[in-house]
């Protein structure tokens, strides 16, 4: 089975290691591909998916940036945190993944309305391992509480979930099966958790690659 990690950071953005080092660690951990915003370096190791992370606090800017980058990258992600941005990302069908919706918050950052909108617009909600890994004691409980709430709502509305490491260094990365185990901890069924690090990212990637190559709808190709 092929495992994907759709959110790691290299030195090109806020990370510590180069994209080559991150790709080498991904290979060692058995990952097929990783998505690193801003990474351009190509290596012989794990595949690097071209992606863009929208980091803004303005809904208008989010929509503009989504339109601008949609046709230039395979995965379009939004850095969440504020409820307005989370909701706008869920309601925008150009977005693929909403990352860390509960970052810097005491709640989960999403409600049933936003998650239902995400299901309608095929926006996947991210479970970020780094949020759990870098929090301790009471904070970790709060983070897990928020993630569990999002998982419960996603299961109710059939919204896609992707589990990522969110690693800023190569030591923050984990193997695909370990990421799935964290999903089980957050309340997912084992099969769903494994899908969220393999089938769900693969489907997003295949759909977007088909669109980028000019095939907008199944069975139809645009010259």
């Amino acid at each position: 089975m092929d495992y994907y990690d759709l959110h790691v950071r290299s030195a090109a953005t806020t990370g510590e290691n180069t994209s080559g080092e991150m790709a080498a660690m991904a290979t060692r951990l058995g990952l097929k591909a990783i998505a690193m915003p801003g990474a351009t370096e190509k290596t012989g190791d794990a595949e690097i998916i071209s992606c863009h992370m929208i980091e803004t606090q303005n809904i208008q800017e989010l929509a503009e940036e989504a339109r601008k980058y949609r046709d230039n990258c395979e995965i379009l992600m939004v850095s969440g945190g504020s409820y307005e941005i989370n909701r706008a990302a869920c309601e925008n069908s150009l977005i693929d993944v909403l990352c860390h919706p509960g970052r810097g918050r005491r709640d989960s950052g999403l409600d049933h309305v936003a998650i239902k909108a995400a299901a309608d617009n095929n926006v996947a909600i991210e479970i970020n391992l780094r949020e759990i890994l870098e929090s301790y004691r009471k904070n970790r409980v709060r983070v897990l509480e928020g993630i569990k709430r999002n998982v419960f709502l996603c299961r109710k509305f059939n919204t896609s979930i992707v589990i990522t490491s969110g690693a800023h260094t190569k030591w923050g990365m984990r193997a695909g099966r370990e990421l799935a185990a964290v999903g089980v901890l957050a309340g997912m069924e084992l099969a769903d958790a494994i899908d969220s690090v393999s089938m769900v990212p693969q489907k997003i990637l295949e759909t977007n690659r088909a669109k980028l190559s000019g095939k907008k709808w199944e069975g139809m190709e645009i010259e």
Binding site: M25, R28, L29, G30, L129, I132, L133, Y136, R137, R140, T169, W171, G172, M173, R174, A175, R177, E178, L179, A181, V182, V184, L185, L190
Partner: protein, 123 residues
């Protein structure tokens, strides 16, 4: 008659052996692995959860040179133990990743399939 009798096989809880590799900046000792793993088990599962999971980091199967070890737990708690191992980020003083190689039902299959504890130098 000083010790209780061993439970019949059908009444014993089913066990699993999780074989793992350690990827770290510098080679790490068993005591550091044990300390880091138990820290993670206790913080994630709590005392009651650890008691349910019947966890044990096997010392005699830790391979110092290959940086490979085995954790025993109940079959119903494998995913929880896996998640706790995923949350170990520092062992001793070096940044580390614990990568699970596989889960087996017996110690002998852990040894044959994954070479766990086959190194004669391992302590």
């Amino acid at each position: 008659m000083n010790e209780p009798k061993t439970l019949p096989a059908s009444m014993r809880p089913k066990k699993r052996y999780i074989v793992f590799d350690i990827i770290s900046e510098t080679p790490v000792l068993y005591k550091d692995v044990n300390f880091a793993a138990w820290g993670s088990f206790l913080s994630l599962l709590g005392h009651a959860g650890c008691a349910d999971a019947k966890i044990l980091v096997l010392e005699n199967l830790y391979d110092q040179s290959a940086q490979r070890g085995v954790v025993r737990c109940r079959s119903s708690h494998v995913e929880q133990v896996r998640a706790a191992l995923a949350l170990v980020s520092i062992i001793g003083e070096s940044r580390s990743i614990i990568k699970v190689l596989g889960v087996t039902g017996t110690i002998s299959s852990a040894s044959t399939k994954y070479d766990a504890g086959t190194n004669p130098d391992s302590s």
